[in-house]
Symmetry: C2
Amino acid sequence: MSQLLLGIDLGGTNIKTALVNDEKQILAKESRPTNAQDGVEAVLDQMAEAARAVAKEFGLPLEDIAAACIGAPGPLSQEKGVVYSPPNLPGWKDVPLADHMSHRLGIPCIIENDANAACYGEFWMGAGQGSQTMVLLTLGTGVGGGIITNGKLLRGVDGTAGEIGHMKVQGVGGRTCGCGATGCLEAYASVTGMLQTAREGLESGVASMLSGSGDTLTGETIAVAAAGGDEFATDVMNTTARWLGIGISSLINLFNPEKVVLAGGMANAGEHFYSTLRKTAASQSFEVPANTAQIVRSTLGNDAGVLGCAGIALDSINQ
Amino acid sequence: MSQLLLGIDLGGTNIKTALVNDEKQILAKESRPTNAQDGVEAVLDQMAEAARAVAKEFGLPLEDIAAACIGAPGPLSQEKGVVYSPPNLPGWKDVPLADHMSHRLGIPCIIENDANAACYGEFWMGAGQGSQTMVLLTLGTGVGGGIITNGKLLRGVDGTAGEIGHMKVQGVGGRTCGCGATGCLEAYASVTGMLQTAREGLESGVASMLSGSGDTLTGETIAVAAAGGDEFATDVMNTTARWLGIGISSLINLFNPEKVVLAGGMANAGEHFYSTLRKTAASQSFEVPANTAQIVRSTLGNDAGVLGCAGIALDSINQ
């Protein structure tokens, strides 16, 4: 009989839950509001309720599920099963999430940080399926990421590995990053970084459809202007793609991966963006790994995290 | 009974050979000239002769050795056991080294690139012992490296992973690297990079003990001048240490390693060099992994490769 796994993706806004078997079939799935303002206990109850709901939808008791994994925002300790104090879960402080959920569900529960869970999702069921070494970059307000080496999540000693957004791409004279360091990839290749590139140009008085857009400037308005033929907006997109290509070239030289998967809002950029970043990545890395590494878009989108959790639950019982 | 492993480090100048048991005891060791100019067959015969010599020294037949690994200069395919065309082994082209040596020695033989072998040596018996995740940087003419994740060598899909010297640390406006890319760590933090930093300063007319040294400028003369209080030489060493710290900060954020091990000539630099690079690495990476990562000097020196080969041979039969 196939093994049943439960994935729960605990976000600041929604709790996503999925029941998946070890043949990667999604048996049941749901999403409900987190209502984080109701406090820790209420959120834990919601997750337990969601777990019971998907089990019931598939018509079996919770006890038939082999294991569960909850993806949560960091900082957290995967090993200890404790969530420290995530900015988007107000009131959470040193919550032993794995223990709480094991107790509530009566099945083995582990936790994983959400970026790693999304990476594992793409590796197990998405764009990285079939690879042994892959890298995920999540391009949003920041640049998040996760890394699979030899078929396993790279967690590092404290579980903090995979901070791809905080590789240095401009070590001297680079932008200050939100993390306090200088010249991080995130300072250039996130939406925030792209907006800074645009603002710096606009402030210098360049002519563009975007001139005077002030606070209404977003990643989308830049993409739309570029698609509409605006030269400056196209330059901004190209610059961002090149920085991303530079960061990816380092990853290709370090990891020699089969796949580099891009997720998050900016991953939806058009073919020109991908062609620019692929060209930069190839020209800045060694030929053999550059030819091997396929730079592709996420296929699971927002479900990567919850499905990755199910995969991590399976991995935890197969170890 | 403990298992016996044979490590052979095939360098352009010397062939080093060691017999090691699975309790990490070195039972016999020797070194002899490679005499690469005598051609492929002669070098293969030398390696077989060296293997028989260490077995004889320990008083047992070759057949009692469980496995051997030969560390060789790249490019090579670890998986196929083939050495392509290493610059410092003239006349070698697509040599099936693993097959040749298995045939000559009558025991299972695999091959590994020399940088990975040195990394595995430090992991198995040296400065990285006891860690699960570690990074080795070899600081010489170039910056080589190797990476251990989850207790395994990170080889990547084609076996080209671990090119630490070719992470980008200055993506825009950076130096051209020997690899053809721009802003690689190697262009700043190798001896070659340090010499370029010194030459750029000297050409601008700075006052220094090194002024007018021309072709006699070396890593050693810079280190000696710095130790003698020369301000410019000290600046050059500090600049090099900071670049190295920047590169290491990326590695700390990506891998969250227990150990970052420095090998090669520049690793022998003094405490001031280490303190500068440690300070930079810590200030440019996240606090938790920065506190965990110990940046230390290699303890095996030139024996890292041959001992790493023995360890890799053991790993190959334990898989």
